[in-house]
């Protein structure tokens, strides 16, 4: 961001972008045993769970400091559903970046494209992303956007607050928590489950469906270089995906004397190498 290092003028509210992906519903996911890819046809989709926490965090900032929350997504027109949900929860408007040129993008073109779109949304104070998506779990895109925009980032955030011209965030690491602070603009990736996302209300849902609140942008609208998009711009190659076949149970039953059963079971487990004798 060109004017990235400027201090945020006080009392103006926060302009926040939340990045959202629509993913297949977890409980309905199956892997095609032949094609070894996720079966996406006929599977219901929903807003990525961690992104809901990001929307909630953004709305919490807006409740406290005022400002504007813009939901941003990249994908097919059907992704409007998740954007409408974000507006139903309280976001003010949404932008959907949708273009055939983007099909097949891995996290590299995705972060480039989202960063490009954000840079055209005016002066942004905060960008929030979910920590990772439930369908591919890379966690690349948030940090990728921060990299392209050359702004500070704090990942895996569970709590955050704004104090004057700083943002203070608590992040979860392997053995505990760290607290960091940074200046605006900044990007946070938000930990799944760190807050309780609010339910969309009826009149906000009416607004989301009726009002002209979702803009659809093409790659050209976002000023993107098409050679960097889609499959061509994606360095990832998926060579193979393995599925784990669970072994079937033997269904052996030890019956009779309880004490004997237990010792029989233990000696069997030792014999088969499941426990050490």
């Amino acid at each position: 961001m060109e004017d990235g290092q400027e201090a945020r003028p006080p009392n103006q509210g926060l302009k926040i972008v939340v990045c959202i992906k629509q993913v297949p519903k977890g409980e309905q996911l199956e892997i095609d045993p032949v094609k070894k890819t996720l079966r996406r046809e006929g599977v219901e989709s929903e807003m990525n769970p961690a992104d809901k926490n990001a929307v909630e965090m953004a709305l919490g900032f807006k409740d406290e400091h005022g400002g504007e929350v813009i939901a941003l997504s990249m994908g097919s027109r059907s992704f409007e559903r998740s954007l409408r949900m974000a507006i139903g929860m309280g976001a003010d408007r949404a932008v959907l970046l949708s273009d055939r040129a983007l099909a097949g993008s891995d996290t590299t073109p995705t972060s480039y494209a989202l960063a490009g779109t954000i840079s055209l949304l005016g002066k942004i104070d905060l960008i929030l992303c979910g920590e990772e998506t439930s369908d591919s779990s890379t966690g690349h895109v948030g940090p990728g956007i921060a990299g392209h925009l050359e702004i500070p980032q704090i990942t895996y955030v569970t709590e955050a607050k704004v104090e004057n011209d700083k943002i203070i965030a608590k992040r979860q690491v392997e053995f505990g928590f760290e607290t960091w602070e940074t200046t605006f603009p900044a990007l946070l990736t938000v930990k799944f489950g760190c807050n309780r996302p609010r339910e969309p209300t009826l009149s906000r849902k009416i607004k989301a469906k009726r009002g002209n609140v979702i803009q659809t942008w093409s790659a050209k609208d976002a000023g993107l270089d098409e050679s960097k998009l889609g499959l061509n711009g994606s360095p990832t190659i998926v060579s193979t995906i393995d599925t784990v076949e669970l072994p079937s149970r033997k269904g052996e039953l030890f019956s009779g004397n309880l004490g004997k059963n237990v010792s029989d079971l233990i000696s069997r487990l030792v014999r088969d190498g499941f426990i050490r004798g």
Partner: protein
């Protein structure tokens, strides 16, 4: 505060048909559905009678998500070990019958809701309406969570329990005697297996109703319908009988499923869905009021159901009542009066569409069906009759007349049977 001409609570067939008709007429309509997808919470046996649809939706036969056209009707009298089937076959060479069809509610209800949206109605899903909004003692909209939406008319299309018909003061809570409990399993089988087992063409479907041991001889019946790749199997049982006999509905369907007749039909299938539902059994004599100032009830919420033992009708009546309510609202707008007076053509439209006639004709069906002999003595009688008729054991063959005399006169008095037959014929 948001404002609409009409707010409809529920996007099932009743709500969606009301919304569709009104939106076509230029009304500003909101219809609010509790589930995330219309139909995903709705339960029915599996068959829809088609007569009201083509007039309302000109491209109905091309567009609607129909599973199979019912070309085969079976009535089965059943004891634990035997069964007698009466079969009516109406398949044409094209394998299409326009009488009735099987459908899956999630697909069918979503399609109806989509038609209403295309006509201009606004559908909001995943929202529970909490209450009616009142102004000066009159219904003036709805309340959901923190929000109020105002409207000239509220239509309750919220199903059998209809909180809103009760909140509006149209009806009281149903008693146990006035409801039946239905359970249904959806069982997945390959398309070809279904077609082979039931002797069906590609688009043909079978409908079965079962009397007797299907319900453990309680008042009610079993049903089976074939979809493209699933079978709907279930039973409807009077809830008073269940509590008197201390039986659970799930035991009944488990036993029903174990009957050899059913076993052969569902063998190898995988249960993909299990659902339960209540059915109002009021009969027109005890029908609740259908409307009041600024408010109408449609579909199950208005107890628009006809169940007379071997046909179960609900979705068709829901649609007809939805359309009739919409027409009454259109007239009310012309008069500029949404009061009870202004909406009073609702029952006239129902009559015009023959629904009140149907409901009247079958008004005694509930009391006829209250007669336990139909579900206990008669199925056994029919099965035993055929059992003896076809038994050859070398001890000398009985005359059919004698078997009949024995079977019938031994179990129920002639007078009682004649009386049951007469009352049955009259109420059907």
């Amino acid at each position: 505060m948001d404002e609409f001409d009409v707010v409809i609570i529920g996007a099932g067939p009743a709500g969606s048909s009301t919304a569709y008709r009104l939106a076509k007429e230029g009304f500003n309509v909101l219809f609010v559905e509790r589930s995330n997808r219309p139909g995903s919470k709705n339960v029915f046996g599996g068959r829809i009678y088609s007569y009201p649809f083509p007039e309302i939706y000109p491209d109905f036969w091309k567009e609607a998500p129909i599973e199979r056209y019912v070309t085969q009707e079976n009535l089965v009298f059943m004891t634990e070990s035997n069964s007698v089937t009466m079969k009516f076959d109406s398949s044409s060479s094209e394998g299409v019958s326009t009488q009735s069809f099987t459908a899956l509610r999630e697909k069918f209800d979503s399609w109806m809701a989509k038609k209403a949206e295309e006509a201009g109605a606004l559908l909001i899903t995943g929202t529970r309406v909490d209450d009616l909004y009142w102004e000066n003692g009159k219904i003036a909209g709805i309340i959901a969570g923190p929000d109020t939406v105002r409207s000239n008319v509220v239509v309750a299309a919220d199903g059998v329990v209809s909180d809103f018909a009760q909140k509006a003061g149209l009806r009281r809570e149903l008693t146990a005697k006035e409801v039946s409990v239905a359970v249904k399993e959806t069982i997945k089988l390959p398309k070809e297996t279904i077609q082979d087992r039931f002797n069906l063409g590609k688009r043909e479907g079978a409908a079965y109703s079962f009397v007797g041991s299907a319900t453990g001889y309680l008042r009610g019946g079993g049903f089976l319908y074939t979809n493209k790749e699933t079978i709907s199997l279930g039973a409807v049982v009077n809830s008073e009988d269940l509590s008197l006999q201390k039986k659970e509905i799930f035991e009944i369907i488990e036993n029903f499923k174990l009957h050899p007749f059913i076993q052969k039909l569902v063998r190898g299938g995988k249960v993909v869905e299990y659902s339960a539902h209540m059915i109002p059994e009021l009969g027109v004599n005890t029908l609740p009021a259908l409307f009041k100032d600024n408010f109408l009830a449609v579909g199950d919420a208005a107890a628009m159901v006809i169940n007379h033992g071997y046909t179960y009708r609900g979705v068709d009546l829901a649609v007809v009542s939805g359309i009739s309510a919409a027409e009454a609202i259109i007239q009310a707008r012309q008069r500029g009066d949404y009061s009870h007076m202004g909406l009073s053509s609702y029952p006239d439209f129902l009559k015009k569409r023959g629904i009140m006639d149907d409901m009247n004709k079958f008004k005694n069906a509930p009391s006829f069906l209250q007669n336990a002999r139909i579900f206990t003595a008669y199925p056994r009688m029919v099965c035993d009759f055929f059992d003896r008729m076809y038994t050859v054991d070398g001890k000398g063959k009985e005359k059919i007349f004698d078997i009949g005399k024995d079977e019938m006169f031994g179990k129920v008095s002639v007078l009682k049977m004649l009386r049951d037959m007469m009352s049955g014929l009259r109420s059907m």
